[in-house]
Amino acid sequence: MRIAICVKEVPDPTAVKRIDDSTHRLVRAGENTLNPYDRHAIEAAVQIKEGPAPDTEITVVTVAPASAGRSVDRALAQGGDRSVHVADDAAAGSDLLGTARILAAALKRESFDLILLGQQAADSECYVMAGLVAELLELPCVTQAASIELGAGSVTIKRQVETGYDTVKATLPCVVSVSDAINEPRYPPLPAIMGAKRKPHEVVSLAELGIDAATVGAVGAATVVGGLSKPEGRGDTIVVEDDGTAAAQLLAFLVEKKLVA
């Protein structure tokens, strides 16, 4: 079968993130990395390939600046066979709908049986990309998959909802976003990391996907950020690094707050 995984490059979680005051966009100048949530989607695909469908081809699809090659390589090292990287300056500043339009166009060029996403992006905490992309592709969609079982022309998925757990069955092709509890992604071994660069990388422009640049990017954005403000904070946080006395320091804090007798 053919599996596509939509991945995102995000700022390294250890970097201090900030939003540019004039563009109102996240500053992406620092170290970037593959969205940690996407690693669960790749692992889910690898497990399908290692298990029920050994002839599976795994394609990593991303919309990102040309500089995101390292994150694409990271995804391939974890088990992707090839990548489709939409890199185009006109895609910069795309909002949710714009990004979904580009991903959908890249996915539509090929016939994938299963399109996987992570449950959310670590930077924007956006958790709706699967629903957007599925609708644009006119495909069934299941989000928050805690397990995926491959059947004949279908997948059976267990997912958490407010009232407990649902089991749903979706016909292929379909779009699935996976919970970060679906698996424990393996770290790619060194040879896989070294070999990722040699896997087929396809870099495409918006024009090659037949996308009108006026419908995506900052120009085509359906939402606009007109300003930024500071929310009310909770107040100061005391943070201590444990040197063996942290538990005692915490106890003193709780006693002072009258939370411990």
Partner: protein
Amino acid sequence: MIGIAVLCEVQSGTVTRGSLGVLEEAARLGVALGEPVTAIVCGSAIDDAAMAALGGFGAGTVRVADDALLASGIAQPVVDACASAQDTGGYRYWIAAASIMTADAMAGLAARLGAGLVIDAVELHAEGGSLVTRRSGLGDSVLAHCGFTTPVGVVVTRANAFAATEGNGGSAPVERFTPSFRAWSQAVTLVGHEDAVETGPDISAADVLVAGGRGLGDASGFGTIEELAAAFGGAVAATRAVVDAGWYPYSAQVGQTGKTVTPKLYIACGISGAIQHKVGMQGSGTIVAINKDKNAPIFDYADFGIVGDLHTIVPKLTELVKQRG
């Protein structure tokens, strides 16, 4: 485009409290913008008389789509129903309180309509005759003022952002509409459901909660968490990730799915603190975080944070608390 449509989610026959809170907020927004507010209810075997009561929460009109396809908790049939409502209603804005189903439904609707989508909105403002949301970002360190350039705008509000009142007892006319369902929206079917079973103490009532996340390493890590909770006379809570992984029962889950808790003391152990967790516990009196990753978002909203190994710190704290007790 005229008016505000609020998708009111029905669970177990009643409209969710989150939906009622958003409906009331939409009504305030509607007054400021001069836009009428319509409640859209999608489900099966809906009691129209009960839905008329949505008038008491600010709906001028209630529109009901009643079909077995709308009762499965699957979002795509609801996308179809909302799109059908939009065909005849021509609404300017769609707003829904975030849930597993509504977030997916609003995303699908935005894609179908080519409408702008804002998620995680925490405030709704009327500015210059238009809706401008406040979208929380970067671990709630910034509010982005998000508006729309498209004729229709779609908003998903953060869970628990708008608390519902008990309503004013008013009622609104209820009308029915018939959705037209697309083929792909019927390609996902519900084949099984396990209800969350209440086990252990009710975490909503506990004064002290000790909560465990993925940082515990595995299910056995809850042993030390239970001991600390016992030392405080409190209860154990868990994140969605560890419940999904089968480490702890659903009834202990705190967050967007799961329970909303407001204990006097909340001790988060090995919890990174994603938004979905935060919305369920940010009303806690004092928040303590123990995590080995100093960049974990939980430290942004904790009162006291410890960067370190919970496997050594938690047992030590348990001993210290016991000594005082």
